[in-house]
Amino acid sequence: MSIPFIDVEGLKVSYDGSRLVLDGVDMAVEENEFVAVLGPSGCGKSTLLQVLSGLLRPVAGRATIAGHDMTGSAAERPRVGYVFQDHRLLPWRTVAANIELVLEASGLPRSEWDARIDRYLDILQIGQFRDAWPMRLSGGQRQRVSIARALAIDPAVVLMDEPFSTLDEVTARTMRQQLVDLWQESSRAIVFVTHSIREAIFLADRIVILTRGPARLLEDVTVPIGRPRRYEDAEITELESEIVDRVMGVWGYEEQQPA
């Protein structure tokens, strides 16, 4: 049996050494798969991405991407693109310089930088802001730059942590569609963290649902809806209702418990 492209087994994480944030999470993602990780706010979804990006070491379990242990040395780990909830662009570097910085750190040849920057900025329709300062851009434009930065390094996987949650609904819908188009074009694995059930259904092939923290795997749902999808599709609404019914008891019940 072959090892999944992203393989998470029995992952346990604690920030203070005693209280668990993740309590034995299992997850598998195939090479071209778009997987959404769904869970209530504060359940540990972002923590899971931090382990997958090599930022955080688990207290138990393992996380591998393309067979490489993500808790091992940085040099041996595959490249990971990360889109945070906030854009995390350096405000004192122009849009292009922000991307150049990660291209340099990724060891990609300098001769390719300009072409890569132009390509992804153009795909995300922000090519005209190449030499702009991030603080002169709107929230949606900054998040587009952040996505361009994540894709430009030619990552093995793109991790996205609620990247559209701070945007207005219209901008968020446009960007969700652009993200799906980009993913279909590039066919690389995306792990997308969200607490929006509808967003998860619209975007993903499969949804990994976590319990309230400390998170464990609650359910693994394959989205049985073909592409292209529309955000308002009746099928999406129907599946959303089903998932809401299934998670309501678990997420809602534990909310009543004292911290």
């Binding site: 990006s53 090599g54 930022l55 940085a74 990971v80 990360y82 945070f84 906030d86 995390r88 350096l90 405000p91 004192w92 570097r93 910085l101 990660v102 340099e104 750190a105 990724s106 300062w133 991030p134 603080m135 002169r136 851009l137 709107s138 930065r149 390094i153």
Partner: protein, 273 residues
């Protein structure tokens, strides 16, 4: 009154209140600068007609051409300028180091914080007298006095910079494998630049005030020493001329060098938040 009407009234009042001088921000800045200068001239005139210790404006202005042709004034101006710039550079380096230690809050951070508190509480005149006892009448004494006066304020400003370093950007750097040098060069230093510039601007003016006091006691050169010379001989026109030189250097540096430099370095800040 509805919120919309309150907002409309407030907007109208604001517009009415601004009408008499409304225009661009730059134009109003110039207007207030001119008013400030005029009030200074008026106060000078008032002082000159009510006191024997303030020379008339005309008399001082008449003396300006011959004063500016005196070659030795430039040596004293250069001496003071060198002391200010040199001491400030040392103060920034010391302040940077102290701020780093204080922000880390270890044993040495606590020790340095006490020295910073002590230096803030030490009056410049006392520091100048202590330097005179310790270093006698020497150039080193002036540098020490100005540095001691400026470094604690630099340290306090930069400590805020260190404490407000954005961990989210450092985390981003970690994900994208920026090494330690790249993190310092691209994340930490640019973050500290506004704090450094603010402390340099504030302490530049402070350093000039302190260097004049130090030069009164410790050396036979510089603007402070020339002040004493003129005052001891009751040459009130000379005192006024040196005062004008002092103000011109301070304001000239502020408006012609420091502010444009700050605007250029922090040009990325302009725009929407």
């Amino acid at each position: 009154m509805t919120d919309a009407r309150i907002a409309a009234t407030a907007g109208s009042l604001e517009r009415t209140g601004r009408r008499w001088w409304s225009g661009s921000a730059a134009a109003s800045d110039r207007l207030f600068s001119a008013l400030g200068l005029l009030s200074f001239v008026a106060l000078w005139w008032l002082g000159s007609v009510t006191s024997d210790f303030v020379p008339p404006i005309g008399e001082v202005l008449d003396a300006v051409p011959s004063f500016l042709t005196e070659e030795d004034i430039y040596g004293d101006i250069t001496d003071s300028l060198t002391r200010v710039v040199g001491s400030l550079a040392i103060a920034v380096l010391l302040g940077f180091w102290a701020a780093y230690l204080m922000a880390r809050r270890g044993f040495w951070g606590l020790v340095v914080a006490r020295y910073v508190d002590l230096a803030i509480g030490l009056p410049s005149t006392i520091a100048a007298l202590l330097a005179l006892f310790i270093f006698k009448r020497s150039e080193v004494g002036v540098f020490v006095v100005v540095t001691i006066a400026c470094f604690p304020f630099v340290a306090i400003t930069l400590r805020q910079g260190f404490l407000s370093l954005d961990r989210r950007l450092t985390e981003m750097g970690g994900v994208y494998r920026l090494g330690a040098v790249a993190q310092i060069r691209n994340v930490s230093i640019p973050h500290l630049v506004p704090y450094t510039l603010a402390s340099v601007r504030n302490e530049y003016a402070h350093a000039w005030r302190v260097v004049v006091i130090a030069e009164l006691f410790a050396v036979n050169s510089g603007i402070g020493w020339r002040f004493t010379q003129a005052y001891d001989r009751f040459l009130l026109v000379d005192v006024s001329l040196w005062l004008l030189v002092f103000i011109s250097i301070l304001l000239g540096t502020e408006y012609l060098i420091l502010r444009p430099l700050e605007r250029w370095v922090l040009r990325w800040r302009e725009g929407k938040l």
